[in-house]
Assembly symmetry: C2
Homo-oligomer: 344 residues x 2
């Protein structure tokens, strides 16, 4: 006889047009799950989810037709996302009960993981476990690969980061300072702007919502132009940045949160890529996970000695996960948005 | 006593909005010039212009505010452009009378060149001299650098070229075939489409003006998607191409002729650069002239043995230069647009 327990889940209701709403997801309390894998389960894990990650790219998975290598969520099934989990019952020889892991899991209290090969085993536990949804997880590698590999920064260059207080942006700004660059960030509240300057050491920061003219704002902070733009928003911000890019500028396109909800503005001045010899490069973190061990070697000591800060916006309880995810698209989160399902 | 001769000139009247018109330029027949440099002229050349090049980038120099490293023309002064010329009187130790050169010159019968260091001396004269405005000049190096350096083609890849019968496009298509790629070109008339397939060996070609739905057209020719896009037009074509790019696709932005006249469409789907990991790179040929000797070593034998074809649209007489230039923007030219000022 195996014990069945309640398994709260956040289900994806149906494909979304425009901004996602809490009601596009549904809290289900009717599911149950056995806390032991059926006898003979090979290659799978039963995990208890501890922390769930809310990330902007998840909006794209809510579309009916996803582009490129991102798949849509399945209506009626739990939302899928990154998270930190504990192995309760291992059917895979690489994992044992009690192991901590991070990777793709379900928005539910307990999940069966059918492809544990894609999980990362957590080795360093003397840092906050929730960091594996952020600085030590996908956003961390994203910032690392995007800044160092795609942007190829040189000392003294001028760097601009949009959505700069987010899960990725706050790291890019700190990496830029470590590289001897001048870095300016944009964000959407005074609180976030203060945090960029006082907590993360950006040279300057501004609230894009208070700027009538983004071109003028950028000219104020970059009188000599921008060498590197770490792009998280798209639309009118991108257009203004292109106007201010320097010769041989690089734009790492990490995301375009302003465009995911279908109200996107077209970018009109792309022809300036030619006279300015601008390289604009989209990248998906899934092509850079081979750098993860190297990244951990760099970042763990910097966290421990206080060189790098990381701010999280932590919500308690899986029932608040839909609001947390939706909040990303109006900029409610201050720092990396995390949902606590269980602390251990 | 120095002999003064008449020097017909094409003057730039004033900055242009929208499509350029012939009347934005003016034929002047009132200037005269001495065919000998004043005694003691050091470092300059007096040249007789033979062939003038009409190139799409020249539209940008007609704007009041040019972007990046492209300057505006000076109202009241001759149009400046690339051309082939003969040295009549050399005040520079690198050149002697009778040398043939190509590079920046004036739209006039005779020019004083103040910066001869930027001219290329023509060594191979057993090919049409006009080729130094095209396949052996700036468009040639543009195609070579853009395709081989920026696009980094691999055998078997799927290549799309817009404005494919133009000065650059016709070469990119032939380079793609030499590299073992599948290549499709778009152009704006049946004559050009036939030329792409029958003269230049494109695998397929289509008339973009006859396509209601560019996305559908591209899906027809690229059922498996596009690896490399050599971008010459911008706007709606770029948007349709992005929809059809494959993972890790490369877009070499050589020009965006549809955008130069101010009626440009915004590109709405740039966020697809992220999931598709697309690299979109603007480039200016002025950063690649160091490759010119290597390029000549490659291309001269291919011209002589007939492997590479090059089609020119040659107009006789400097007085027809304004119409020839303006015609580029409605696609009147079939192949590289050249104006003959004098044959020798």
């Amino acid at each position: 006889m195996t014990e069945e327990v309640n398994n709260k889940q956040i289900l994806f209701k149906d494909y979304v047009n425009g901004f996602p709403k809490e009601s596009d997801m549904l809290l289900s309390t009717s599911s149950t799950i056995s806390l032991k894998l059926p006898h003979g389960s090979n290659g799978v894990l039963l995990v208890k989810n501890l922390y769930l990650s809310c990330d902007p790219y998840m909006r794209i998975r809510m579309n009916n037709t996803a582009g490129g290598d991102t798949d849509s969520f399945t209506p009626g099934s739990p939302i899928i996302g990154l998270g930190v989990a504990k192995v309760l019952d291992s059917g895979h020889s690489n994992f044992k009960n009690g192991d901590l892991v991070w990777g793709m899991t379900g928005w539910e209290q307990y999940s069966i993981i059918n492809d544990p090969e894609n999980l990362f085993k957590i080795e360093h536990t003397d840092v906050p476990l929730s960091y594996y949804t952020g600085i030590l997880g996908m956003p961390g590698i994203t910032a690392y690969a995007g800044f160092y590999e795609i942007c190829a920064p040189k000392e003294g260059e001028y760097v601009f980061v949009s959505a700069a207080s987010g899960a990725v942006g706050q790291l890019v700004g700190q990496f830029a300072k470590l590289s001897g660059c001048y870095v300016v960030g944009s964000a959407g509240t005074k609180e976030k702007v203060d945090m960029l300057k006082n907590k993360f050491g950006f040279d300057e920061a501004f609230n894009y919502k208070e700027e009538q003219d983004l071109d003028a704002a950028l000219k104020r902070y970059f009188p000599d132009g921008i060498d590197i733009y770490f792009e998280n928003v798209g639309g009118k911000m991108l257009e203004a940045v292109i106007l201010n890019m320097r010769l041989h500028g690089r734009i790492a396109v990490c995301g375009m949160i302003s465009q995911y909800n279908g109200q996107g503005d077209g970018v009109q001045n792309l022809f300036l890529l030619v006279p300015k010899s601008i390289r604009m490069q989209g990248f998906g973190v899934n092509h850079f996970y081979h750098l993860y061990p190297k990244y951990l070697d760099m970042i763990i000591p910097l966290i421990k000695n206080g060189t790098i800060s990381y701010v999280e916006d932590i919500v308690e309880g899986i029932e608040h996960a839909p609001a947390a995810l939706v909040g990303l698209f109006s900029g409610k989160n201050v720092g990396k948005q995390v949902v606590v399902v269980a602390h251990e």
